[in-house]
Amino acid sequence: MCGIVGLFLKDRKLEPKLGSLLAGMLEVMTDRGPDSAGFAVYGSGDADHVKVTLRGRELEGIAETLGHGVKGTLRDNHLVLSFPKDREDQIRTWLAAERSEIKVIGVGQRIELYKEVGLPAEVSKRFGLPDMSGTHGIGHTRMATESAVTTAGAHPFSTGADQCLVHNGSLSNYRSLRRMLEPKGISFETDNDTEVAAGYLSWKLRDGATLAEALQSSLVDLDGFFTFVVGTESGFAVVRDPIACKPAVMAETDQYVAFGTEYRALVGLPGIGSARVFEPEPARVYAWERH
């Protein structure tokens, strides 16, 4: 149970402001989700490099230790490492062997992912969201339902490269889905229903579905109440379950597409007064791609 915000920029001139706009939206959703918060931002990157977001303690010096070609950006207890693609296996192996207590929470070309227990405003400040730039981003404030309030339980969940998902609602068949996905090579770290939804999408994408197709299948295979906002390297998508009890509001202008659980989250966006404001229909996938 929570608040979700999402922002997908059409106008490149707004990219330096992505973080500050998203931070404003996130903070408004504090009442809905005081337990923990998280966000993913799609920032700089290219096809020859991989970015990995790590969360843990004593992260200083890791980039230097890994040496040539590895850049590290440390933000509190999260570290974003960027390195040439061909070093990925070696670096992942090193981390697993030497620093197994560090969690890898996001991997991809452009994604950076941060999440932590605490109020949204604090989480946003700790990791410097207001200064970040990017093409799109998703944020989440959490009130835990059936799993514990831990950092691991916070959203977004990322179970594939450049993928992330946030969820408002409560899935009712996620344990069965998890049992179906695990033999297919999707692994889970938490007991959380949202992680299962993320894993489901990763499975579908891995098997060749487009983002829209994967979300379309989720309407059949997932049961319960859900509003999902999903990010991929180039895409941004929203879907609500067929009963659509959990609220969802979107706003679209020539400059952006925005999502908020409540309209209040959108009031600070530029041009919101003349935006097309609408509520997504139940059981319909809305997807945008960057070109």
Binding site: M1, R32, G33, M143, A144, T145
Partner: protein, 443 residues
Amino acid sequence: MDLDNIPQTLPRQSATFDPYTLAEIRRAAATGIYDIRGAGTKRALPHFDDLLFLGASISRYPLEGYREKCATDVILGTRFAKKPIHLKTPVTIAGMSFGALSAQAKEALGRGATIVGTSTTTGDGGMTSEERGHSKTLIYQYLPSRYGMNPDDLRKADAIEVVIGQGAKPGGGGMLLGQKISDRIAQMRNLPKGIDQRSACRHPDWTGPDDLEIKIEELREITDWEKPIYVKVGATRPYYDIALAVKAGADVVVLDGMQGGTAATQEVFIEHVGIPILSAIRPAVQALQDLGFHRKVQLVVSGGIRNGADVAKALALGADAVAIGTAALVALGDNDPVHEAEYRALGTTAGAYDDWQEGRDPAGITTQDPVLAARLDPVAAGRRLANYLSVLTLEAQTIARACGKSHLHNLEPEDLVALTIEAAAMARVPLAGTDWIPGRGSF
């Protein structure tokens, strides 16, 4: 071998296909409709009877009766409300609708509760003037159906109870069949007379604890933050549900186990959905403790509370108060053998009568028929309820004194042991004579 005297095998009824099951299959085959009835689960379940108190001896000393007080008062709704509820006894009357019950029965409940200084609760049909007039402390239920809901009654209430579910049918909505939709009820509920009421199982304008929080704020705004807001759930996942109710802003949480009664619902719902109250209390209290809210958000438990021992055990496990429903109706006169001839005519017998949805109650309690309802004298019935509530309170005090407690609230889980492994595991108290709590430690 003497062929005329071979011993016969004894006719043996199946435990699986027992007489009840066989009759039900035949009934289903004849009608094509599920069985609907009132009351709560009739199965034998782990319950308070499986727990015993450790009375005083050499290591603990008891209190004398009378002079050495054992206090029973409780305050509900201290978290946010300007006017919390002060009760003289922790035994309250659970929500039961006018519609399920006759107006006379609602009046009797109000009278009896007022005599002993406790509260009654409206149900899925709104507030009647009889109940508000006769009940000094009235909790007003806010249900998915919103029948009769209005701001005037909200402001007349002493507390508001947001109902998410009840123990008899967690996940189900209200049910009242056409036989009981009289003119008055049709008018209060805004329904055509004589139809079968279909009820929503979810609230129309919010779903989930994040939106419940906003709804609770609205109710506080409308009532100027004066009244405690209770949140009632049927027992299913009590640890999470109580935590979420606290996070959503509840002042009091009401937890109703599967033994809780109903006016009418499907038999399969009553018997197979929801968990016994014994298994729900400790997880609920754990949730409050983990959030640092035990005793700050009060917990009322219900579902099969019958005597002062049940009251004391519920409090010992961590509840602040209890609610009675079925027991209150029995005190008024429900299922009394004095009506046996009429029960037989209805195809049942005293103690087993549960077709309350038919509205033909000989005791005049679960009916809207004016002739039957007139049989219940609200003043006399109110007196009976008051007597019963007094006995519950005195019994609980007797037990508490024997455990050395000067206030019922000082009862604690360590005052209890269990007779069975199931009860020990569910109530998280050791098996009598051992240190063993199944799931939590060694022998």
